[in-house]
């Protein structure tokens, strides 16, 4: 596991080299042997050397794959052959994992147990559609059966219906029907006017506890549903 960690950091460093070609000597990543090979990069711009290939990546030349770049840094020579086999496998492994992570980002659909798929569902066209932001499907206020005006002190709720810059969400984004949209907008205005909620961003308490772009505090409106 630890070898994977330094290898991934090495690869990240290699990418940094791509974007910032000038001072190659400053590279010092790790003390382990394949990284030491990285440290002793020859300071040359010719494409025949590995470093040259790395540095020439930015200027429009044919881009070698990450595997190719890594192969150039694999130790050569007889004295290293025994250790080299393991390293080569590890580096290949790492490159594959890096590739996996990159491709996984393109699999936009979070497959769930019980989904049915046809070949078309695995296509890039279909995956692109899963990335898009669709309009909300239903009216959350109607579904949960609460009155927004009674909930102007519920900061999680208010923050849910404003944009990151504090504007009241459009009807298209909030998915509320006109009656509920008016009530929700009034509740938001009320909360801001009373100084309970900031007017240019979401509530700081919620911004603090964001996890992966989603506020961890859930929506708990006080229910005014009729009781039996």
């Amino acid at each position: 596991m630890s070898s994977r960690q330094w290898l991934s950091s090495a690869l990240r460093q290699a990418q940094t080299v791509v974007s910032r070609p000038a001072p190659l000597q400053r590279l010092s990543i790790s003390t382990t042997s394949p990284a030491a090979a990285l440290r002793n990069l020859p300071n040359s711009n010719s494409r025949s050397t590995p470093a040259g290939r790395l540095t020439s990546l930015g200027d429009g030349g044919p881009r070698p794959s990450s595997n190719e770049v890594l192969r150039d840094y694999m130790p050569t020579g007889q004295h290293r052959s025994r250790q080299g086999d393991g390293d080569r496998a590890a580096i290949k492994d790492m490159a594959q994992l890096h590739e996996t992570d990159s491709y996984m980002k393109m699999i936009a659909r979070r497959w769930k147990k019980g989904d049915v798929y046809a070949p078309r569902d695995l296509s890039p066209v279909e995956m692109r559609r899963w990335k898009l932001w669709n309009e909300s499907q239903g009216d959350a206020v109607d579904l949960l059966g609460f009155n927004p005006l009674d909930n102007y002190r519920n900061m999680a709720l208010i923050s849910e219906f404003i944009t990151p810059f504090g504007r009241i969400m459009n009807r298209k984004e909030s998915g509320l029907r006109p009656v509920n949209q008016r009530k929700m907008a009034k509740a938001i205005r009320r909360a801001i006017a009373l100084g309970l909620h900031p007017s240019v961003h979401k509530h700081p308490q919620l911004l603090l506890h964001r996890r992966g772009g989603v506020p961890s505090t859930s929506l708990h409106p006080s229910s005014s549903a009729p009781r039996l």
Partner: protein, 466 residues
């Protein structure tokens, strides 16, 4: 309806019959709509909502699908499988609205090739929890077609008696309702039925009173009273209502019977994971019959026979597609695709999870150079339908021997004699498992001669089921 009324009753009956009209589409799975802000409208639904129609090859060439007008040949003759779903027979633009239905149609065929029966869903585990995959992995479950769980027609008497066994209810499952939905349902459906409920309670009270009076009659040696002779006064009914109100369990029974509510598990039962009466009380009753019409097999407890190796301990292994590899840093688990259904990768101490297999493990990384994508050999163990009509399948890793035999069946491996070494020309392998088998059999046994001196068996007849 107005059209049907203008013709004769016989004509109307014929027009609305299955012979002349397609059945109305069923509502889609509730989970298909609840993907939040992300989702694709063109993605394959988790179960078909429209009738799939097919036609003969000769008719298809003429565009004849038995509909009002011939369908365009350009879009309907290219597919190998003639399967269409008709969304509308006749639109305002004078066209027939149709689309291909091979996605759902072939999924059904592929599922039926697995030869696994549909079983009752796990009672105590929620559908998506990891426990659902891990628990009772190898235990055979009860078929949905067993006498004590398969109820399709009910009369009013056994409706109450079979409350804890049946799967279809007129009323909703209250635990699955949002507060807003519940309030709306109460206002629209329940409140108008108040007088009816009073009448219902009156009859219940009359039945109670009849029981006590008949007991008294037996004791006194008098003739048995009739139900009609019992008169319930308003005071008695009010008193009965008061008594019921102080007994929540009893009043829930009454309301449940009156509205035909789906049974609920008590909070204690949910918390302690203990079983209660109805198998659907914890996750809600299913939207379809618990088999969903996918398969009518009762059991998978039969023996497969191999032409060379004799009776087999297990059913033939199947290839499953790795839909998504497992990446811990992205917090995603591996998902497999089997016969077109997505399922969890096998968990626990299995072949594909061994440490020494990690480097070659297709479950832990994506090999983009692999043509057709990564696949692993699995052994499907059970399938059931959950409350939302989705298929929950379980599969375990195929053992090395099962894998070898399955590979030999399709000609990828040879157990006795030499391994097929010469590089074969790339044959595009497509279609269902049976067709692949047939293609492979033709490829490796072109003259139809017997393999390794064994008696004459076609590769297709590899498994003899009894």
């Amino acid at each position: 309806m107005s059209v049907a009324r203008s013709v004769s009753p016989g004509g109307a009956l014929l027009r609305t019959s299955r012979l002349f009209s397609l059945p109305a589409p069923i509502p889609p799975s509730p989970t298909d709509a609840s993907n939040g802000h992300h989702g694709s409208l063109s993605a394959t639904q988790s179960f078909p909502t429209h009738q799939i129609i097919t036609t003969l090859a000769s008719s298809r060439r003429r565009g004849d699908w038995g509909l009002k007008r011939p369908l365009p040949l350009w879009t309907t003759t290219k597919s190998t499988n003639a399967m269409l779903r008709v969304k509308q027979i006749d639109t305002i633009e004078d066209i027939t609205d149709f689309s291909s239905a091979t996605d759902q149609g072939l999924t059904l065929r592929k599922f039926q090739e697995l030869h696994i029966p549909l079983t009752m869903p796990a009672e105590n585990t929620p559908f998506d929890s990891p426990r659902a995959s891990a628990s009772s992995m190898n235990l055979p479950k009860r078929s949905v077609f067993e006498k004590d769980s398969d109820f399709t027609t009910l009369d009013s008497v056994n409706k109450t008696a079979l409350k804890d066994k049946r799967w279809r209810f007129q009323g909703p499952w209250l635990a699955g309702m949002e507060p807003g939905q519940f309030a709306k349902w109460v206002a629209k459906r329940v409140r108008p039925r108040r007088p009816e409920f009073r009448e219902f309670l009156k009859q219940k009270l009359a039945a109670d009173m009849l029981q006590s009076t008949s007991q008294r009659a037996i004791d006194n040696g008098e003739p048995q009273p009739e139900l009609e002779s019992i008169v319930v006064s308003d005071e008695q009914l009010t008193e009965y209502l008061r008594r019921l109100r102080s007994n929540p369990k009893e009043i829930y029974e009454m309301v449940g019977q009156f509205l035909d509510l789906a049974p609920l598990a008590t909070p204690q039962e949910v918390e302690n994971n203990t079983g209660s009466g109805n198998p659907y009380s914890k996750n809600g009753p299913p939207v379809t019959h618990p088999s969903a019409g996918l398969s009518y097999l009762r059991t998978s407890e039969y023996l497969d026979n191999h032409p060379l190796y004799g009776p087999q301990a297990s059913h033939p292994a199947t290839l499953a597609r790795v839909i998504r590899p497992r990446r811990q840093n992205l917090q995603v688990d591996a998902k497999l695709g089997l016969a077109g259904f997505v399922l969890d990768a096998p968990t626990g101490d299995t072949n594909s999870n061994h440490k020494f297999n990690l480097r070659q493990n297709p479950l832990s990384k994506l090999d983009v150079d692999l043509k057709g994508g990564a696949k692993i050999w699995v052994q499907p163990t059970q399938a059931s339908i959950n409350a939302n009509g989705r298929v929950s399948m379980l599969a375990k890793d195929a053992s090395y021997e099962e894998m070898l035999i399955a590979k030999e069946m399709v000609g990828e491996e040879k157990i006795f004699g030499e391994k097929p070494t010469e590089p074969e020309p790339e044959v595009p392998v497509s279609g269902t498992r049976e067709t692949v088998k047939r293609q492979m059999a033709r490829k490796y046994n072109p003259k139809g001669s017997s393999m390794s001196g064994a008696p004459q068996y076609g590769l297709d007849d590899g498994a003899f089921k009894f």
